[in-house]
């Protein structure tokens, strides 16, 4: 699994969708999610030096996201990638089983930092089912597992629409947060679309 391609693809997808993410955020947050994540991921791609092992790629990208993104998404996405990179260690090659463990570590990092559980209307609602789906399908190889994860992330994100937010800025709206797609869950779908694209290219 080429983790560099994954991060580059994530940056491309977020750049293309930044306006939509920002619009989703304006509805129930403060309207900066697309711009922030776009800025952070640009910095993350620039920070990637040549010939880094896959784990180091994720750690470097994660550190850049923490340093450059701001908001909650910097520590959350940055912390997730750093923890995933740490789980991969110095291995030169990453198979589906290793990536499954890394994704689980990423989910743990997000939940430890943000304290969100499934159903709070956050990125966890897309991330948690995606990680579980990847683990289940890991035996079928990275491309199949990544596609399964993407499908689960999409379904999970869609399911945030009727929820009332209990974490993050959307929670201040109370019942008025119902009826909107959570922007963090939407960007998490892009993370898994990037993973599926990168895995399919191999």
């Amino acid at each position: 699994m080429d983790t560099r391609r994954w991060i580059e693809r994530f940056a491309e997808l977020v750049a293309a969708d930044a306006d939509r993410l920002t619009r989703l955020d304006a509805a129930i947050g403060d309207g900066d999610h697309g711009a922030n994540l776009n800025r952070g991921l640009k910095a993350a791609v620039e920070a990637l030096g040549p010939d880094l092992p896959p784990g180091k790629v994720l750690m470097t990208a994660g550190r850049a996201l923490v340093s450059k993104t701001g908001g909650a998404s910097g520590p959350l996405y940055g912390g997730a990638l750093r923890r995933a990179g740490k789980a991969l260690g110095d291995a030169a090659d990453v198979d589906a089983a290793a990536l499954a463990a890394a994704l689980r570590a990423a989910l743990d990092a997000v939940q430890e930092l943000g304290k969100a559980v499934e159903g709070d209307k956050t990125m966890v609602d897309a991330l948690l089912p995606a990680v579980a789906a990847y683990e289940t399908a890991a035996g079928d190889g990275p491309a199949t597992a990544a596609r399964a994860a993407l499908n689960a992330a999409e379904t999970g994100a869609e399911a945030t629409v009727p929820l009332q937010a209990r974490k993050g800025r959307a929670s201040y709206l109370g019942p008025r947060s119902v009826g909107h797609l959570d922007p963090g869950a939407a960007s998490t779908v892009l993370l898994f679309r990037a993973l599926a694209d990168a895995a399919a290219e191999e």
Partner: protein, 331 residues
């Protein structure tokens, strides 16, 4: 969008350039994006650092100076600063007696300040965070990210800054900031939304005859949308919400009638007249007051009312000399 800006991506940087040019008493580091008192760090004095998204000026950079903050770190518009930046502010403020972080309760601010505090500990700087959460519009913290930090931030920065200036210890400076937070409640109302420059569109739409009750300071909508009403009725909604949460009867208070950025001072005084009357009618003595734009939300029209139940010591700390771009008296 119609804004008096240059390159939209450089709004925060250009703001810092302007502050540096206008206030030679401050040291503005454009690379680190921090605003520091010219005489910081002062050996043996507890450092006081705050920061948050830009767009709330004069909060926080405008409160850097004698008797208040040692350093501030402004993030992008409505976006928390990043850990490296907070660490740079913390280091600049550190005179060896520890540093207090005043953090407004927003998920992003709390996470980034937490990471910065860990980095500071690695550099042997003791950091005590104080989280400000005075906004009564957010009701049930079990089902939300908790109450937001708003007007109490200004009060806490003033009181903690005065105590730090007087030689207070790290624990005492943090404790007085916490005490101010616990004794303050706020409620905000928006007459219009505001436009984040990079987004180019208002964060929400309000009709000509509509207002948002219970807003925060990031352009987010409030808890409830209702019809525009005369100022005394709006003030009644805000003060009733505050009074219901923390009884004001019989107390001496400091009141802030804070403009959100786009409301003329004239209207803020109209609101203040209603505030004074309401408080008088409920047996509350207004010992100190402040009217103006202090904790803003870009060009949002609206008002946020903050009430602090004073103690003799808190009154003294409020009255202590202060010399910053945003607050200045007694010196």
């Amino acid at each position: 969008m119609k804004k008096l800006i240059g390159d939209v991506d450089d709004v925060v940087l250009d703001t810092l350039r302007g502050m540096a040019a206008a206030h030679p008493s401050l040291r503005v580091d454009l690379d680190q994006r921090i605003i520091v008192r010219a005489d910081a760090p002062r050996t043996g004095k507890v450092g006081l650092v705050s920061g948050g998204g830009s767009g709330h000026e004069p909060l926080h950079g405008g409160f850097v100076g004698y008797g208040m903050l040692d350093a501030a770190c402004p993030g992008e518009v409505f976006t928390s600063p990043v850990p490296d930046q907070i660490l740079a502010a913390t280091t600049a403020a550190s005179g060896g007696a520890g540093v207090v972080h005043i953090v407004k309760n927003y998920t992003g601010d709390v996470l980034n300040f937490q990471m910065a505090a860990e980095l500071a500990e690695d550099e042997d700087i003791e950091v005590v965070p104080v989280v400000i959460d005075d906004d009564v519009a957010v009701q049930d913290s079990t089902y939300t990210a908790g109450r937001r930090g708003t007007g109490a931030t200004l009060f806490a920065e003033k009181a903690a800054g005065a105590l730090a200036e007087a030689g207070g210890s790290l624990q005492d400076v943090a404790a007085v900031a916490r005490e101010v937070n616990e004794r303050t409640r706020s409620f905000g109302v928006a007459l219009t939304a505001c436009t984040v420059p990079a987004a180019g569109r208002p964060t929400f739409e309000l009709g000509d005859d509509e207002i948002e009750l219970g807003i925060g300071i990031h352009g987010e909508p409030g808890r409830e949308r209702t019809r525009l009403r005369p100022a005394p009725e709006i003030v009644d909604v805000a003060l009733s919400a505050i009074h219901e949460d923390m009884s004001l009867s019989g107390s001496e208070v400091l009141v802030l009638v804070n403009g959100m950025g786009g409301t003329p001072l004239m209207e803020l005084y109209v609101a203040y007249a209603a505030v004074a009357e309401w408080l008088g009618g409920h047996g509350v003595t207004v010992a100190r007051s402040l009217v103006g734009n202090y904790v803003t939300s870009l060009e949002m029209a609206g008002v946020m009312i903050s009430v602090l139940r004073l103690t003799p010591r808190l009154t003294e700390l409020w009255d202590a000399p202060v010399e910053t771009p945003g607050l200045r008296w007694g010196r």
